[in-house]
């Protein structure tokens, strides 16, 4: 066989193998263009977590499971042990007494560019699958402002086709409008080859997501969803003092017998959809709003929202922690609404500190 034949034959074999790989991993490839669906898939793959956070890009940037878990373990050393290198360290003093303690695992399932439908769908599925002992759910205005007039919880069949439509539409996989021979050829290849249909998965960015999905559980996959991935692997922990946590206490709304009046909130439809979902579940969850810079604070830290939180805790057996009125230093933010690395470390520890001090985590077990 001459070199040309070998060259063509190997190329053909390569692409046939790739097509078979795509067919075998069809479900995973289908969700690759949607970060929210990938996170949900990773969460499912990881199994039961102690805490899972759901929310928008703000939660994605605000919550780091490493620091959150570390703070929880440090606050409850007799209950929890961490599944990190210090556990494996034979010289560690903690190890000797670690036997009976529970490994603590948390996961940030929040995502950027989420649609309200997918948000509800992901939450619904996570609740159904009992994905975590405690769910922390963001209810900032950022979540609701992305909802239009209506958001509905899709049945899984509807959801699947909606994802497909959304993914195909986003990627423009099919070149519309072609007729004649060109149209026939495009249809033929599109309809018969998954490799052509889901070719966006061949892009480096998407291929990395597939790798991440496959390796979930071995590498800390949630970090891949933030900017500055490489930097984050070398970033050092930042130590904060007890006084810092005390200084920044959230507004806490807890179940009380006090009657509240329904105040028509902004984005009412979506908020009611969310409340409807919470009413029909047995999972433990708390609701949070996140810190923002002063400009946005005027929209988040409002009396209308406060009234609505009171209404929520009255209607639902839950707790709301509102961090939106906190005056955090400007150097904790990367923009008006999102925390930077320093802010993320602080907030993750701050949240862990308050949840622990309120026994919310312990009570979730």
């Amino acid at each position: 066989m001459n070199r040309l034949s070998k060259y063509i034959l190997i190329l053909l074999t390569f692409f046939i193998t790739l097509e078979l790989f795509f067919r075998h991993n069809y479900q995973e490839i289908l969700i690759l263009s949607d970060k929210q669906l990938i996170k949900s898939a990773i969460l499912k793959k990881l199994g039961l977590q102690n805490v899972a956070v759901f929310g928008s890009s703000r939660s994605n940037d605000a919550f780091d499971s490493r620091y959150f878990s570390k703070q929880v373990v440090e606050s409850n050393p007799l209950i929890f042990k961490r599944q990190t290198s210090d556990v494996k360290n034979p010289n560690s003093n903690i190890l000797a007494k670690n036997k009976d303690r529970i490994s603590f695992q948390s996961f940030n399932a929040a995502s950027i560019r989420m649609s309200p439908q997918k948000y509800l769908q992901s939450l619904n599925e996570a609740f159904k699958n009992q994905a975590a002992n405690l769910f922390i759910i963001e209810i900032s205005e950022g979540i609701f402002s992305q909802s239009d007039s209506k958001a509905t919880i899709l049945t899984s069949k509807q959801a699947k086709s909606a994802d497909e439509i959304s993914i195909n539409h986003d990627q423009g996989l099919k070149i519309e409008g072609e007729t004649g021979i060109e149209g026939f050829l495009q249809d033929f290849f599109y309809d018969n080859f998954i490799l052509v249909q889901q070719r966006h998965a061949l892009k480096l960015k998407t291929a990395l997501r597939l790798l991440m999905l496959k390796s979930a559980g071995y590498i800390p996959s949630e970090r891949w969803f933030r900017s500055g991935i490489i930097k984050s692997f070398f970033a050092k922990d930042i130590v904060f003092m007890e006084e810092d946590y005390k200084k920044y206490s959230p507004q806490i709304y807890q179940k009380s017998s006090e009657h509240t009046v329904y105040v028509q909130p902004d984005h009412e439809v979506f908020k009611n959809e969310l409340m409807h979902l919470f009413k029909n579940i047995n999972n433990k969850y708390i609701l949070i709003n996140l810190p923002v810079k002063i400009k946005v604070r005027e929209q988040e830290c409002t009396s209308k929202n406060r009234e609505f939180y009171k209404y929520m805790v009255y209607q639902l057996d839950t707790t709301v922690l509102d961090f939106s009125c906190l005056d955090l230093p400007n150097d904790f933010f990367k923009d008006e609404k999102h925390l930077n690395y320093r802010g993320r470390v602080f907030f993750s520890k701050l949240l862990a500190h308050h949840l622990t001090s309120m026994d919310l985590i312990k009570n979730a077990f």
Binding site: N2, R3, L4, K6, Y7, I10, L11, F14, F15, Q171, G172, L173, I175, E178, I181, E182, L185, Q186, F189, L195, V196, R199, H200, A201, L202, K203, T206
Partner: protein
């Protein structure tokens, strides 16, 4: 049929397969002629009539010119070619300007009702025809007697609609010789086609999204983004045309033909003169041999000749004042460079700085090239001066795409220098080709025409 379509892939594979399975040289030429005419007629079949007429006129007149040696016959033949080009490409522009001119004297002329039809690749095949006629007159080649050879020379689908503009002495001898299948050349052809598709689909078409946005309404761009957009356009137009030319070379190789190179890293040029020695080589050498030299070249009225050649080069790209200004800009710059050279003055700048400045200047002139009209160009220049202030970030994807272009250019240059692709191990060849196909496949969501098709 576009080079970046599935139809073309199958069309090309079908004909190239038939070509190599037939042993008769006449059948092979017949296949080339039929496939080329089918390729051209696929776009818009009436175009074949004009192409056929042009070929017939040039075939007959070249033989008459050869026999008579008469300059009058040459003038007649060249005029007929230019008239056809002028009518189809420039009559609309001419009439529009005539209407504006008469309006100055309060004379309102009505615009003719007919719709303008611009036959694809008319500038390319007209120039190819003119060079053939002139070469016959100059006795550099003899007029082709075999009709089949002549049809293949004029219509070979690898270069018919967007060049390269191939001279008769480069292509006719290749048409006449009996080709032996060379697997290395065939494999090189595949590599060139893949690389050309990558350049077009992955780089040019992706950048076009940013460019279309920017030039759609330049007042939406802040200072940084307006500059990034002209850089993006400079890269887009190169990749669009370079991609096409690379595919053309690949198609040629698969048939056993070697077509001339059209680009030689134009953006590393350290002067505009140098740029035109690297950019669209077959057009710039055509302009030199069939326009600049006959005008007198460097012997007399050098600066006028340079300016005229460049203005006509601008006009060749399209019928609008923007293209005339584009050509005038290039002409002025070349004249200034020549003046410096003639008076032995030189700006002693590092080469890298010169290259940077040349690229900046070329990118600025391209504002005229890309803007649909003069008023858009003016708005664009305002945005380049920072007139419009917005809090905009430079899109990451744009920066990555420009970086990818630089890396790819270096890689491709290395892989094609002395056909070094053929010296690679089979593993490396397959890996690179598979990576190219994957990239092409993953980016193939928009099908945009090649910019140079309309020239």
């Amino acid at each position: 049929m576009l080079f970046n379509s599935l139809t073309f892939v199958f069309f090309h594979l079908f004909f190239v397969g038939l070509y190599w399975t037939s042993s008769s040289i006449t059948i092979r030429k017949l296949l080339l002629a039929v496939s080329s005419l089918a390729f051209y007629g696929w776009f818009y079949w009436p175009g074949l009539i004009l192409l056929g007429l042009t070929m017939a006129v040039n075939y007959v007149l070249a033989r008459i010119i050869e026999n008579s040696g008469s300059k009058k016959n040459l003038t007649l033949a060249v005029s007929l070619n230019l008239m056809s080009l002028g009518f189809f490409k420039y009559s609309g522009f001419f009439i529009d300007n005539l209407i504006v001119f008469f309006k100055l004297f309060d004379l309102n002329l009505a615009k003719p009702e007919w719709s303008y039809w611009l036959p694809l690749g008319i500038s390319f095949y007209t120039f190819q025809g003119i060079s053939y006629l002139v070469d016959v007159y100059r006795k550099q080649i003899s007029a082709e007697k075999n009709v089949l050879n002549f049809v293949v020379f004029n219509s070979f689908y690898a270069q018919l609609v967007a060049g390269p503009i191939v001279r008769a002495n480069e292509l006719l001898p290749q048409i006449k010789e009996k080709k032996v299948f060379k697997s290395e050349l065939f494999q090189l052809g595949i590599y060139y086609i893949l690389a050309g598709l990558l350049i077009k689909i992955v780089i040019a078409d992706t950048l076009s999204q940013f460019v279309d946005y920017g030039f759609g309404d330049p007042s939406k761009l802040n200072f940084a983004n307006s500059w990034m957009t002209i850089y993006a356009f400079s890269v887009q137009i190169l990749c669009d045309f370079w991609g096409y030319s690379t595919i053309a070379l690949g198609v040629g190789y698969m048939y056993g033909y070697t077509l001339p190179l059209n680009f030689d890293n134009p953006y590393i040029a350290d002067s505009v003169t140098d740029f035109w020695r690297r950019w669209h080589l077959t057009l710039s050498t055509w302009l030199r041999d069939y326009l600049y030299f006959p005008l007198g070249g460097g012997r007399h009225n050098k600066y006028r000749n340079l300016m005229l050649t460049m203005v006509l080069a601008g006009l060749w790209h399209g019928a609008s004042w923007n293209f005339i200004i584009y050509g005038f800009g290039h002409g002025s710059w070349i004249v200034i460079e020549r003046l410096f050279m003639d008076y032995k003055k030189s700006l002693h700048l590092p080469r890298l700085l010169k290259q940077f400045l040349v690229f900046q200047g070329l990118s600025l002139l391209r504002v005229f090239f890309r803007s649909p009209d003069l008023s858009t160009s003016i708005v664009y220049f305002k945005s380049l001066l920072g007139f419009y202030k917005f809090d905009q970030n430079i899109p990451e994807a744009l920066v990555l795409q420009l970086l990818f272009f630089i890396l790819f250019m270096i890689f491709f240059e290395k892989s094609t220098k002395d056909r070094s692709f053929l010296t690679w191990s089979l593993k490396k060849q397959v890996l690179v080709s598979a990576a190219f196909i994957s990239l092409i496949l993953s980016f193939a969501s928009n099908k945009l025409d090649f910019i140079y098709f309309v020239f």
